[in-house]
């Protein structure tokens, strides 16, 4: 493992080669100096490998290309594990071929890891809605700004390219669950969270663009199946309060319903009920938060404030 080096793992397949250039350009523009790029190519065409070499050679960066030529199935998780196996850096970050890093990404996140002594650092991101070359919208998601780790159980709020982790600070290097073809990044964080906890520093700066292509086709039934897997994993492995469990159930059912576009126009009574529960839980959590703040301001004694704070933390069970 090379100290101070960051390994950027980028996975790509034939259909993404035209966008790969921008992803690599964003890595080149990063102000952090000691970096290597690892491209995992999922495909069996020699000319594609040649094309990848030609793209990356333009920048004079250190790089490796690894090929996964088994194209009988989608192997997103395996591709990332292949990249992890090849990485020589102490710090690891991932990037999809269609996403982009800001120039401060590595320097800010690695700086936060060093400063906090934590193993992970995560930053904010902007969503870029794209129709081929044309960006119709850039917006910020606020999820990460008010992030606390427990919220990871309810929503996949950390895209794969928004964080960096320090391998030397982890007991075991995490690996992607190869059973997962979709939501593998979400499961990756959850599994690590369950096994070891997630010592994570959140920074305030924007570090990446999450690119959404408007014409991207999503396999709805597969997406629902993996969504359900995630739900079961959380349900089976994490102790939750009844309120949280109710919220989680409602959240996943609504999200599966929304994903199923054929039912979008059907007002489904049961889903609406779940939605209502979800909303009520959301509100309740907000009110509890407000009560905590008001109490902490009003109570004169430091000890009392601490006791109240402890009780509230138990209710929230924040990590």
């Amino acid at each position: 493992m090379v100290d101070m080096r960051v390994s950027v793992i980028i996975r790509v397949q034939d259909s993404g080669l035209n966008l790969l250039g921008n992803a690599i350009f964003s890595v080149y523009c990063n102000t952090y100096k000691d970096k290597e790029v690892i491209i995992v190519y999922h495909g069996d065409k020699n000319e594609s490998i040649e094309a990848i070499h030609n793209i990356i050679k333009q920048y004079g960066m250190e790089y490796q290309i690894i090929q996964n030529s088994d194209i009988t199935s989608d192997q997103r998780s395996k591709n990332l594990n292949l990249g992890l196996g090849l990485a020589t850096g102490r710090y690891i970050c991932f990037l999809d071929y269609d996403d982009e890093l800001y120039p401060n990404h590595m320097e800010d996140l690695i700086g936060a890891i060093k400063k906090s002594g934590k193993a992970w650092a995560v930053g904010r991101y902007l969503v870029r809605v794209k129709d081929h070359n044309y960006t119709s919208r850039m917006k910020e998601t606020l999820a990460i700004r008010y992030f606390y780790l427990r919220s990871l159980l309810f929503r996949n709020i950390i895209p794969i390219h928004t964080y960096v982790f320090d391998r030397s600070a982890l007991k075991t290097v995490p690996r992607f669950n190869e059973e997962m073809v979709l939501l593998e990044d979400y499961m990756f964080l959850l599994e690590h969270f369950v096994k070891h906890g997630l010592e994570c520093q959140v920074i305030d700066g924007v570090v990446t663009n999450y690119v959404k292509q408007v014409d991207r086709v999503v396999n709805v039934s597969a997406s629902q199946a993996y969504n359900t897997k995630i739900y079961r994993f959380i349900n089976d492995n994490i102790t939750m309060l009844p309120l949280e469990r109710m919220y989680l159930g409602a959240r996943f059912k609504v999200s599966n319903f929304i994903k199923n576009s054929s039912k979008r126009n059907v007002v489904h009574e049961r889903v609406m009920l779940y939605f209502l529960i979800w909303q009520i839980c959301n509100r309740t959590a907000l009110y509890l938060c407000k009560i905590k703040i008001i109490l902490s301001l009003l109570l004169p004694s430091k000890e009392l404030r601490l006791i109240i704070s402890e009780i509230m933390s138990l209710i929230f069970r924040r990590e």
Binding site: C29, Q58, L126, T135, N209
Partner: protein, 268 residues
């Protein structure tokens, strides 16, 4: 083979980023011929350091011209660069910010698109990773004005426009030159396959000072294009020299102050 002159104004700039950007051009000439004019608006304080870096790292080093100058501002700096090379043969004059990085295909895509438009326009690169929100047409790529972050002019167009208006010290000289170009029949284009990294989110600039420059330039633009409401928004004009200017342009169909400092319809 097309010849492109690249003009860069430096003032207490980060030379490492500049070198990174120039290295891209050095290793990806794409059949273009380059010449570089570097104007140091800080009396040449960084020229020696930059010269050393360029000659050590770039094969293009002999094509560089360095000029020491007092702090005359963005537009005047580029005009000085243009005057320096005006008598030489070249096709395009490209003004680039020193804190950005060229994509390997940036300049060639700009040139190819300009050729497609028969050089009847001015052309800006797309800022990356955070785009400027101003609108451009999805297929024709026409836009209301071109940002000076990276803007390319065919030589004859820059000459015809007499360059940037030197009354603008910084900001909005690009809006002004774009409107003047449109007024004489040229179009403005956003060449969206030509990327130029320019991180406006995290560049750590002194915001208060930048806002003051924007306000001043906004007032000049308002005076020049007869926009009293925008003038009031910018807090008025405190420069007698500009107050007395008689060559005031009024392009009612072109100017757009409705979106305040965007000067254009916006995408978000």
């Amino acid at each position: 083979m097309y010849r492109v002159v690249i003009s860069i104004i430096i003032y207490k700039s980060n030379l490492e980023i500049l070198l990174k950007s120039l290295k891209i051009l050095d290793s990806n000439k794409n059949g273009l011929e380059y010449a570089f004019v570097i104007i140091d608006n800080n009396e040449g304080a960084q020229i020696d350091a930059l010269k050393a870096m360029v000659s050590e790292n770039l094969s293009l080093a002999p094509l560089f011209t360095y000029i020491k100058s007092p702090n005359i501002g963005f537009g005047a700096g580029h005009n000085l660069a243009f005057r320096t090379v005006a008598d030489t043969e070249f096709d395009y004059f490209l003004c680039a910010n020193p804190d950005g990085i060229f994509h390997p295909d940036c300049v060639i895509n700009l040139v190819e698109f300009a050729k497609k438009c028969r050089d009847n326009g001015i052309f800006e690169a797309l800022q990356f990773p955070l785009e400027h929100p101003k609108y451009y047409h999805i297929t024709s790529w026409k836009t209301d004005w071109c940002s000076g972050c990276l803007i390319m002019f065919p030589k004859k167009v820059f000459g015809q426009l007499n360059g940037f208006d030197e009354d603008f010290f910084m900001y909005m000289e690009d809006v002004d030159i774009s409107w003047r170009a449109r007024a004489i029949g040229y179009k403005c284009y956003t060449v969206c396959n030509a990327l130029f990294m320019h991180d406006t989110l995290n560049n750590g600039r002194d915001n208060a000072r930048m806002k003051e420059y924007m306000r001043k330039s906004g007032a000049i633009l308002a005076k020049k294009y007869n926009a009293p409401t925008f003038m009031a928004f910018c807090g008025g004009l405190k420069d007698d020299k500009i107050e007395q200017r008689q060559d005031l342009a009024r392009f009612d169909s072109i100017k757009n102050f409705r979106r305040l400092f965007h000067f254009s319809k916006v995408r978000w």
